[in-house]
């Protein structure tokens, strides 16, 4: 197991960057929940981050090939759990996403399914060993991923299910899917759009509407976008200062410590802070991509790129939502948003990346 040479071989830049982002997140959680019912959230988040680092360490120790090998098992397990969640899950804000654990803690299963999907895709595509992806494989892999997508959508949790699709997308892209298929997807999307539209829940439709026109109903669904934009705009160049953001502190902003944490961050730290935070994310992504480039084999490359794509997608959608350029989907900001499941799953993924990196010294 202890195959890495020493502590020195760990991907320290990756670790430092992720911890730096977490610290920004904790600071912001502290500020956003300052003197509220959630005032101890930053504390809990520290615990989660420490736990997450632990997970990361563990994940770096286990050879990812071992995990890949068990991917089908994980896959089955996660499908079962998702079904269980649908049946017995705790209902919060109208959706069943959580499995209640001891001590009032809740686990969001769908967060960890991301990890499984990355592994499944990597495993499947590695076994192909071809330069081009065939239609048969495409369908098979697509079917594999679409099952959890459908289950999560049922919760309903559009955002998380979309992240699965993002993983699928990058996997297919890297495997060398012909441009004809991409074109086919586009045509299919256009054809299926009306169908999908009928499947979407009313509130989801409303979110899309308000994404197009936030002022449609400023008291209703568009409220969040408008308030978020106001908060970000209030930040200006230098920001209002920690615990000084009026939008955040006066509770105009919805959930300023989870989904809209970056909005609060933007208000209190301004454009400079935003550039810094986004810069950290960018470097983190680049570091993961570098690990993908230096991966010892295809599987490692797929794993790393899957993680990178997932993180990019989440950052893009969450931050885009904050500035009103993406619809509100309820995707948390990795590493910054408050939430244990999110933190643990992201650190687990980073652990995987680290693992891939360590394996390159093996031969």
């Amino acid at each position: 197991m202890a195959r890495y040479r020493s502590v020195r071989d760990l991907d320290w830049p990756l670790l430092l960057l992720s911890v730096a982002i977490c610290l920004l997140g904790i600071l912001q959680i502290f500020s956003a929940t300052y003197e509220t019912d959630f005032a101890d959230a930053w504390w809990k988040q520290i615990v989660w981050v420490v736990l997450g680092l632990l997970v990361l360490w563990v994940m770096s120790l286990v050879d990812y090939h071992y995990l890949l090998d068990r991917a089908p098992l994980f896959y089955l397990l996660s499908i079962v759990t998702l079904v269980v969640v649908l049946v017995i899950g705790t209902k919060v804000f109208g959706s069943r996403r959580w499995i209640p654990l001891f001590g009032g803690l809740r686990l969001q299963v769908s967060e960890f399914v991301k990890l499984v999907i990355i592994l499944v895709a990597a495993r499947y595509l590695t076994e192909l060993r071809t330069e081009r992806l065939e239609a048969r494989d495409l369908l098979k892999l697509g079917a594999l991923v679409l099952v959890p997508v459908a289950l999560v959508m049922k919760q309903p949790d559009l955002g998380t299910s979309l992240t699965y699709l993002a993983i699928l997308g990058i996997a297919l892209f890297l495997a060398g899917l012909s441009w004809r298929y991409w074109l086919g997807f586009c045509v299919l999307a256009v054809v299926l759009f009306p169908l999908g539209w009928s499947i979407l829940k009313d509130y989801q439709k409303e979110r899309l509407f308000t994404f197009v026109n936030p002022s449609r109903d400023p008291r209703g669904a568009g409220y969040q976008v408008i308030q978020s934009k106001i908060a970000v705009g209030a930040g200006g160049l230098r920001g209002q200062g920690v615990t000084r953001g009026s939008q955040t502190q006066l509770r105009f902003l919805p959930v300023p410590h989870t989904d809209f944490i970056f909005s609060a961050f933007g208000e209190e730290h301004g454009f400079i802070g935003v550039v810094l935070a986004l810069g950290l994310y960018f470097l983190l992504l680049m570091q993961i991509v570098q690990n993908a480039q230096t991966a010892p084999d295809r599987a490692g490359m797929y794993v790393c790129m899957g993680v990178a794509a997932l993180l990019l997608f989440q950052v893009l959608v969450n931050v885009g939502m904050v500035v009103g350029r993406m619809p509100i989907t309820g995707i948390p900001l990795p590493l910054m948003s408050y939430g244990g499941s999110n933190a643990l799953s992201v650190f687990a993924m980073l652990g995987l990346v680290n693992n891939v990196r360590l394996q390159r010294f093996v031969n």
């Binding site: 050879d63 970000v232 454009f271 990019l312 500035v323």
Partner: protein, 631 residues
Amino acid sequence: MLPVEREREDLNLKPRPPQDDPRFAAGRIAFFQYITVAAFVFLLSGFWELQIGNPEFYSERAERNRIKALPILAPRGKIVDRDGRIVVDNHSSYSLILSRENLKPEHLKTIADGLNLDYDELVNRIRRFERTRPKYEPVIIKEELTPGELAFVDAYRSVDGFPELELIHAQKRQYPTSGLAAHVIGYVGEVSEAELNTLEFARYRPGDVIGKSGIERYYNNRLMGVDGQRRVLVDNLGRERQVMGMEDATPGQDLHLTLDLDLQAVAELAMEGRQGAVVALDPRNGEVLAMVSRPSYNPNKFAGRIRSRDWKELTDDPQRPLLNRAIQAQLAPGSTFKPIVALAGLETGEIDSDFSVYCNGGATFYGRFFKCHARGGHGRVDLYRGLVQSCDVYFYNAGNRLGIDKIAEYAEMAGFGKPTGIDLPHEASGLVPSTRWKLRTYRDKWYAGETISVSIGQGALTVTPLQLAAAIGGLALGGVWHTPHMVKNPDSLPPPRTAHIDLSHAIQIVNALYGVVNDGGTGIRAWLPGIEVCGKTGTAQLASNEAIRSGKVPDTLKDNAWFFGFAPRQDPELIVVALFEHAEHGPNAAPIVRDVIKAYFDKKARQSAPPVLLSSSGAPASGAAYARRGE
């Protein structure tokens, strides 16, 4: 190498195939990097737009900065005379508005200096808006900018970054520059804070331009339109780039006056350089054909924001040019009141056509001597001669017989003592004294001696020129008093008042008034060939008799001259009242009335004559032109 192989086998993994090169997707990974860069640029641009691009904190407000909402000021309705000739027009001009959202207080000094505004006034003005209106509502700080001032604005708005300045196009009031009918038309101005608290103007907002006096005020709701709005995209230099949306302004309605500019012009010219008023109306329906008050002023000075200096000059003028004397001067009518006394006498039977007195230059009543204006006396006078010669002694006796309350009753029947109800603001009511009035006002009883003065139109009796015109006009028609009005289709017109007076009495008085002009009476100067002009002079004394005797009467206390004239004798179409203040002799007002009446009948002849005839006479077909314009 080896441990790995072993490990793989342990894990039941197939050995790595030779073509398993992780670099096979290097190009695609590079592509992913570019995607990442693009995604972050996309996100950063979003933050730039919100945090940097928007100079203001509130995103919606910021949107207003780039997409500015500029008011489109609705033009007020035009005011035209009865023939459709334009009395009040609009002309296009530029107004400067100040967007308070972008205001930098340190710029105000420069703005005030550059645009010749008073700095303190400007600051107060902005402060006034600051208190009451939301910040995004702009303030108009200067109207009718000259090209130079426009250049100033343009230069500063762009180069030195005065983002608060914005120019809008406005329709400004254009009044006759000669001050013609200034008092009737009135003027517009910005609604004041005090006015906003009144019921009349409660629905307007600060900065709105409303009618302040005259027709402009009375018919403000009709004349005023509804402002529109234009949303334009402006760049960072403040230049308009694109129109995003328009809500057109609804212009105000045009107003059709009953005024006849021909008569008005003649009356204005006749009063030039004089102090007083002229009212001409059609007694058959109450339409006012001309209304002049002198001295006048140039209402165009009010069309913008009047300077406090000009305003002070106007209000401090002892001649009170802002007063519309036609409806606001309350003065003793003098002998022009005598027909009313005569009517009262005839109706009550206190006098009849046979009743006569001997005038030897005065008479004594209740121990006091009242003199007649003719030193030598008129000899024996009956009603006809009494009116024609305007014999005071005759009317002393008539009044004495009637008593004050009978006189008051008939005066009030004719419309004195209360506003006529004309559609102009601030009409004065005049005063008809009576025992009840005396008791109520002075808590004192009426002395019979006071009646003597009232019976020749002096004493406490005061009337306005309009009241006199309406009263005599109704009397000449045989007792039908129409409410005078200025606008062709007034909002509401009360039905005419009628009094059941004996028609023969009215005819008797009218005949006497005909004699005043045509039978060697005091109104000979109003004589017109071919037109049956009836009239009556009046000389109202202002100074006490003692002062007159001492010969030291200042100009401002010289007698007022009155004259009313109507024509034709039967079914009069026109009655004109002229008040010529400090003219000393009543007959001096007669030519004014004569000119107006002449203008009326000349115009009538012009309109009835076939236009061909006029143009064939070689003279320009001015009459035809008028007829055409009148269509």
